[in-house]
Point group: C2
Chain length 252, copies 2
DNA sequence: CGTTTTCTTGACAGGGATCAACACTAGTGG
DNA sequence: CCACTAGTGTTGATCCCTGTCAAGAAAACG
């Protein structure tokens, strides 16, 4: 829960009390091994959950076998909007790495939201951001070139991880193998491989042993047409111009 | 409002009273000429609105000038999730045809939701469906061929219009020019034109004078990998096998 | 009716898909 | 601790779907 609360700080000024309230809504912790399914398309979701550790991803498989990854679920992310449980899920969710997640009681969460306007605002903000990320992915897949798509994905993930303290702004984990990146970006694996090499050899990034290092954030963002405003971050985590001396460290 | 309520019936069993409550949340009516902007990216949304008549669309323009249409707003659609006003909009909205829309008071809407669990459920359902549509668009643009994308779009629009009584199941308006269809599907105008001709000449559809006729819904759905379940419709408006003798007419 | 959109067509180019090996890595079990 | 295997990454060759450019036809519209 810790990380959900941390993320929500970017959307509202939660009090200590608010965070405690949120923490109480947290239910059973579940561990899922890498590559295991968490929710199957069509299944009735019994509850929603927060990712505590590890990465998961939501995806759909078409009748012709093609797969599209809709979103990566990072630590602190909710599996569903906080206000409803869909009668059946219209996509599947699977663990990308080994994942630790906490089930959330919907009534408790709603009660928490009712009890504090800040919590309510924070949760709605989160929902808004999640929607914005989805829509940005439409743009990514619809109107960007291969390297732009990849660069954009890297920028986004890095920034989202930074929101929960899992990136210092330039270095973070990046566990998905190229097949998954391909299915997230609407590309073939082969082409992801080649485009990634391009990003590497132009000195913008390194990506080794599931670890991403961004060497020139400004250039990477510019070359992938990445405009961080859609993430609705109030603090300046994102600056188009990278500022190594900013004070985020303390705040995190 | 009429049409929003009608749509919501697919998500919850609203009473007459509920619909009246909803109707009271409706504010000023605004008319927007075709092609005019309604909301500009970055602008603070003062209120959200329902589309009463006509089509609008949400879009983003990249720095390189490319445009991606994120979604078409049809009569009965809300411009934003019902629970919050974003501090600033991360996309623009423009009128596709001449549009009549009604501003909605957020507090009134929230009050309505609080006053009736059915209204609340209905609004959350709507939010869920809107999200599902967005995600299905990711799939469309990411993993389908040109004709599949177009077919899918047509199926979706037709079905959504049917939910509000603006399609009999096979025939409906389809005002967007090919440029817009292209930007919605992540294709070039030229290719939309050619792929559309393909759909026409295979006898699946006609599209003339901004009016769409689907000649073989089953085949069109199958060939575009269209699975209507993501729209979360309880009634069988959608049947993969077309049934001209069903009883929807009365219910509408 | 002239003017602007929108639609069509043709020719051509290219980004990315596909197919097919091969190398590497990490985990598994003997 | 090594051999084995499955998963992942890399490359090369080839093809084709879709984009781009350009210009003419047809509608739509004031």
């Amino acid at each position: 829960m810790h990380l959900l609360a941390r993320k929500l700080r970017h959307g509202a000024n939660l009090t200590i009390k608010d965070e405690e309230t949120l923490a109480r809504a947290r239910g059973a912790v579940r561990r899922v091994p890498a590559r295991a399914d968490i929710v199957l398309e069509g299944a009735q979701a019994r509850s929603l959950f927060v990712v505590l550790e590890g990465w998961a991803y939501a995806y759909k498989v078409l009748e012709n076998g093609k797969r599209q990854i809709l979103s990566f679920l990072l630590p602190g992310d909710l599996s569903e909007p906080f206000g409803v449980l869909p009668e059946f899920s219209s996509h599947s969710i699977a663990a990308l790495t080994a994942v630790k997640l906490a089930e959330l009681s919907l009534p408790d969460l709603q009660a928490a939201a009712r009890s504090s306007p800040r919590i309510q605002r924070a949760l709605w903000w989160d929902l808004l951001v999640a929607g914005a990320i989805d829509r940005e992915r439409i743009v990514n897949v619809g109107r960007r070139s291969a390297t732009e798509r990849l660069g954009h994905l890297l920028c986004e993930v890095n920034l989202r991880l930074r929101m929960v303290g899992l990136s210092d702004g330039l270095v973070c984990d990046f566990p998905p193998p190229q097949v998954d990146v391909a299915d997230a970006c609407g590309l073939s694996t082969v082409h992801v491989n080649r485009s990634l090499q391009q990003l590497k050899s132009s000195g913008l990034i390194s990506l080794l042993h599931r670890r991403l290092t961004i060497h020139d954030l400004g250039k990477l963002q510019a070359s992938s047409l990445f405009d961080p405003t859609y993430l609705h971050i109030r603090d300046d985590l994102s600056g188009r111009a990278f500022d190594p001396g900013n004070s985020m460290q303390e705040r995190l």
